[in-house]
């Protein structure tokens, strides 16, 4: 039986003393106990570490396997208000879906009033609406039924930042694509057909990767394994790339850019690509650090290039 004392990482004040803690208690359980004495700090916003400036301990870590004496001293940092990943994803994806539709249906006060509730005469505009909507419906369904999240929560301020990004860009793109003065692609049907093929191919690819990643991880677990190609040909890209979900996502948006021939769409694709490259490089690096036998042929996001 051990004791646990929790100090504030900045001020070193004694915040809590827990006596008679089981040696096999997890950090998660200790967080729950701490929460009881400080109800404003729910477990998700607690960062518990051995060293005031050190890394956070994981919820799964067990007390007796940590380098502490009979009385364990932990340091606490408040991570700030937290919000669940699922909530953030649902909000940031529902926005573009609805916003785009508002522009598509030419809701009043967006374009000149004579265009209210009219529809575009270009069939590519209808196609684009279907593709854009399909994309975000897919994302919403994946959030609810496919993804297995490592972290439960993220800081609350992220939802404002993320929603501004997604909703802002969606409105900007949708405004031009559904504009009464929209100009369809230069190469007409050929361009649109090619664009649609690229888009659909990459949507299926992206979905395949999400399923493959989900299957790597048993339900409720947070294990990490190296992803490998499966029977599904869309996953064979794992041979060359660490994060093919991002590769396919880039492909989808390139397809959509080609389909709509719209500069704001190109801008959105570019910004997204930059962000996904940063994420892919980070993920690739952590794969390399964690797994000695990580395949050397793989690049983070673009085969052989990036």
């Amino acid at each position: 039986m051990g004791h646990v004392e929790i100090l504030d990482a900045k001020t070193k004040d004694k915040l809590c003393f827990l006596d008679k803690v089981e040696p096999n208690a997890t950090i998660g359980e200790i967080k729950s106990m701490f929460h009881k004495s400080h109800p404003q700090w729910y477990p998700a916003r607690q960062s518990i570490r051995l060293d005031p400036k050190g890394k956070s301990l994981k919820d799964e870590d067990v007390l007796q396997y940590l380098p502490v004496g009979t009385t364990a001293t932990f340091y606490f940092r408040d991570l700030g208000a937290q919000i669940s990943w699922v909530t953030v994803f649902l909000t940031e994806y529902a926005g573009p879906l609805l916003i785009y539709l508002m522009f598509y249906f030419r809701v009043p006060f967006i374009y000149a009033s004579k265009y209210d509730f009219t529809t575009s005469k270009h069939w590519v505009v209808h196609l684009a609406c279907m593709c854009h909507s399909f994309h975000y419906v897919k994302r919403l369904l994946e959030t609810l039924f496919v993804h297995r999240f490592s972290h439960g929560t993220m800081p609350l301020r992220n939802i404002f930042k993320n929603c501004t990004y997604y909703w802002g860009f969606a409105a900007w793109m949708a405004y031009y694509i559904n504009h009464p003065l929209y100009t369809p692609p230069i190469y007409g049907e050929q361009q649109i057909r090619l664009a649609l093929i690229v888009f659909l191919f990459c949507q299926i690819g992206n979905f395949s990767i999400h399923i493959a990643l989900r299957n790597l991880r048993p339900p409720g677990s947070k294990t990490r394994k190296i992803p490998y190609p499966t029977k599904n040909p869309f996953t064979w890209i794992f041979l060359l790339v660490s994060c093919p979900n991002y590769t396919y996502e880039l492909g989808s948006w390139l397809g959509f850019t080609l389909m709509t021939q719209c500069l704001p769409v190109a801008a959105f694709t570019l910004v997204g690509f930059i962000q996904m490259t940063v994420w892919a490089k980070g993920k690739h690096r952590s794969y390399l650090k964690e797994f000695r036998d990580y395949p050397t042929l793989r690049s983070p996001i673009l085969p052989f290039i990036l």
């Binding site: 031009y176 694509i177 504009h179 003065l181 929209y182 100009t183 230069i186 709509t260 021939q261 719209c262 500069l263 704001p264």
Partner: protein
């Protein structure tokens, strides 16, 4: 916009020699000294140009034309400072420096140069004077800091003059943009209209209005109060020391 880039380097210039081991080498320091001396001289030329033109004409209207070329040259030259940060010979943030230099360059070229009609406005003189005094002090501050012989007067001036110069400069800049608005709207300057093959549009007139709002409501108050805090930090110590002595 006319911010003397205080927020970026903070007090790093005087500290850089003792704190950072991995700082600029001797060649870099020599280059920076030359750069800052040249810039100080350049802005002095502009200052002298303004005074001479004023004395010659007997009025302060339309002085912009007398210093138009050196103003463009030396203000645009400041773009090098972004490079200095990127390469690491100056310990400031690339983003912050970039932002500040670009805002000056924007005002010089995309507003004052591009909209001829505002060049005779008095608001132009307002920001040109603010910039000139600020830059003379700022570049001499850097020069002396690099040579490790910073007269207290220059340090004091750098952290005090902004109290008047910064609002003065911002006022001049905003009034100039405001004066440009009708001409921009009439001529459709730098604007793209629909329909076009890229399905994109840009209204420079609206853009300028948004910039004015952003500068006035957010940027200027934020930067101004940051500099006031910097002033307390930098000049505050000295007052304590003099009390002890």
């Amino acid at each position: 916009m006319s911010a003397p880039a205080m927020g970026t380097s903070k007090t790093a210039h005087t500290d850089s020699s003792n704190k950072k081991k991995k700082g600029p080498g001797t060649l870099a320091i020599a280059y920076l000294v030359i750069y800052n001396v040249v810039m100080t001289a350049g802005w002095l030329v502009i200052a002298v140009g303004l005074v001479r033109a004023y004395l010659a004409r007997g009025s302060y209207h339309g002085l912009y034309y007398s210093i138009e070329k050196p103003l463009k040259f030396f203000q645009t030259g400041a773009l090098l400072e972004i490079l200095h940060c990127a390469v690491g010979i100056v310990p400031s943030s690339v983003v912050l420096t970039g932002f500040q230099v670009m805002s000056r360059v924007f005002l010089t070229w995309a507003v004052t140069h591009s909209v001829r009609e505002v060049q005779s406005e008095d608001s132009v003189l307002l920001f040109v004077v603010a910039w000139t005094v600020t830059e003379i002090i700022r570049y001499s501050f850097y020069t002396f800091s690099l040579l490790n012989h910073l007269p207290y007067l220059i340090k004091w001036a750098r952290y005090t003059f902004f109290v008047v110069l910064y609002p003065m400069g911002v006022a001049g800049e905003l009034l100039t943009i405001y004066a440009a608005l009708p001409y921009v709207q009439k001529t459709g300057l730098y604007s793209i209209t629909l329909p076009n093959n890229y399905n994109f549009s840009f209204d420079y007139h609206t853009f300028l209005i948004l910039i004015m709002h952003h500068v006035f409501s957010k940027l200027f108050p934020q930067l101004y109060f940051h500099m006031i805090r910097q002033r307390k930090k930098v000049l505050g110590h000295v007052e304590e020391y003099s009390k002890v002595e």
